[in-house]
Amino acid sequence: MMKNIPFAAAVGLFFTALYFFVAIFASLIAPYGMAEVVGDVWEPASADHWLGTDNIGRDLLTRMIYGGQTTIFIATVATIISFTTGSILGFLAAVLGGWADQLLSRFVDLVMSIPSLILALVILSVTPVTVPVLVLVMGLLDSTRVFRLSRAVAVDINVMDYVEAAALRGEGRRWIIFREILPNALSPLVAEMGLRFIFMVLFISTLSFLGLGVQPPMADWGGIVKENKDGIVYGIGAALWPAVAIATLAISVNLVADWILNRTTSLKGGRG
């Protein structure tokens, strides 16, 4: 399987792995402390500070590394929440059918009829803005999309002969969901996971940029833009580094997701 990875997917895989590696070992890799002031305001790039310094003289590379840690951590946890809630409810809706399916599906339609950023802003106006709240709000809002996908996939699988055989054998609902449906629905869900993860990175960056996400002195990519945006009009590009980071991460994850998606569609074609 690992031998014939297409070039694009390999590049994507490499950069995705690199970002996660840097995020996990941020405190070992970062040259300075996260909130340590080490120089003048907005120093240009030099041997000591590869990306220069930020709006209050912290090393920008350090901020970017710690920022990546926060952003990737939040996005990962939110994706996990979104997937567990969305797929379990989606499978349940497909297996149960009837009014439970109707209720869940119509509720999801309702939530999806408003842009999630707007709904998130409404909710964040009354809740304290902390990392657990952010992760929950983002994860639950996004689980609606996972719900739709997993329900659609599970409805198809639910009518397969082997599921019927399991039901006739007298297996319970839990068995059918986790042992029959889940393994067969995994590939499209994994491909979707990449896209949802990217969406989460963009979402948390946007919220932080608006001042409603990660709060200072913690660093995150959206927050770094917010802190350094005033430099732009003086021709200081410090606020643009997160753009590079987010774009490369997003494109690499996209490349990997595309590859997984292609593999799964060819799989399906083979099956019938």
Binding site: P115, L121, V122, I123, L210
Partner: protein, 318 residues
């Protein structure tokens, strides 16, 4: 009554029902959440008297159902209440900001829609050749960057380094149209880029889908010219998907506008909403949320209606 009209009436009714449900969702979303709303607005250090005052002002002592219907009644009669932070009438403040936002979105749409359809056609015409690949590479990278960062990238290179456009988009009533357009040049460019990418990709997919149908092949085999095939067979059948794509993206503009307005400090709805979310000004947030949701739902409904009306099968019932 033809089947098309009946479907349109159904969509309208559904849209109104949806809007009503969304108003409940927005209202409940700010209620059911853990903790006391008054407490989270004023913070931990608030005195009991201040809390009691705020609760009375927000009507938190009434049962939720009464409050909801008071609020809904107000919304339906155009009374959105007053802002907590400055005591001003929300409907008044929203009016001018909404027109500013629509002004911005209008120009972004005027530029991006024809451009997206043109680029989509170009990509289909040169499918799998370099123009198609170039277009899809560029659009993939604009999709991968959040709106606000595209904003700053443009501001940095076009606004500051080249000095072609103002980096702050202030507009007021006394300005001429030309001055206004100059001042919103950058935000319009950002919105155009963001929407263009989505719209172009979806247009390409929609037209490709139509071009691969059996009747196009039949027309080709009949010996019709390419022009005639596109005009008589492909075009009428791609109106519905393309209009759908356009409307979906106009709805997407509504969200993009929130962030882009903050980037360019443009006095529109989005900035108003974000400002008041951080000030925890509940009435303003609810009102803005409802307006945004209404525009979003309205555009989606319009997309459905147009695609019903443009569907030849529904227009000429047997």
């Amino acid at each position: 009554m033809g089947p098309a009209l009946k479907l349109v009436a159904q969509r309208l009714a559904l849209g109104i029902l949806l809007l009503f449900l969304v108003s409940i969702l927005i209202f409940v979303g700010t209620l059911i959440l853990p903790g006391d709303v008054a407490q989270s607005i004023l913070g931990q250090s608030a005195t009991p008297e201040a809390l009691a005052n705020l609760r009375a002002e927000l009507g938190l002592n009434d049962p939720p159902l009464t409050r909801y219907f008071d609020w809904l009644g107000g919304v339906l009669t155009g009374d959105l209440g007053t802002a907590l932070t400055n005591g001003k009438d929300i409907a008044e403040a929203l009016g001018s900001r909404l027109s500013n936002t629509l002004f911005l979105a209008f120009w972004a749409a005027i530029i991006s829609v024809p451009l997206a359809i043109f680029l989509g056609l170009l990509a289909v015409r040169y499918r799998e050749r370099w123009p198609d690949k170039l277009i899809s590479a560029v659009t993939l990278s604009t999709i991968s960057i959040p709106e606000f960062l595209i904003g700053y990238v443009l501001m940095y290179f076009v606004g500051v380094k080249l000095g072609w456009a103002p980096t702050v988009s202030t507009i007021y009533d006394g300005m001429s149209l030309g001055q206004k357009l100059n001042s919103i040049a950058l935000p319009v460019a950002v919105l155009t880029l963001v929407v263009l990418a989505h719209m172009m990709r979806m247009t390409r997919a929609a037209i490709l889908n139509v071009m691969q149908s059996a009747y196009i092949e039949t027309a080709e085999l009949k010996g019709l010219t390419m022009f005639k095939i596109i005009w008589r067979h492909a075009f009428p059948n791609s109106i519905a998907p393309v209009v759908n794509v356009v409307m979906l993206n106009l709805a997407y503009l509504v969200v993009g506008v929130v962030v882009v307005e903050v980037v360019f400090t443009y006095p529109g709805m989005g900035q108003y909403l974000v400002d008041h979310v951080s000030k925890r000004d509940l009435p303003v947030v609810q009102a803005c949320g409802l307006v945004f949701a209404a525009v979003y739902i309205g555009l989606n409904m319009l997309a459905d209606i147009i695609s019903i009306l443009s569907n030849p099968r529904l227009r000429h019932p047997k």
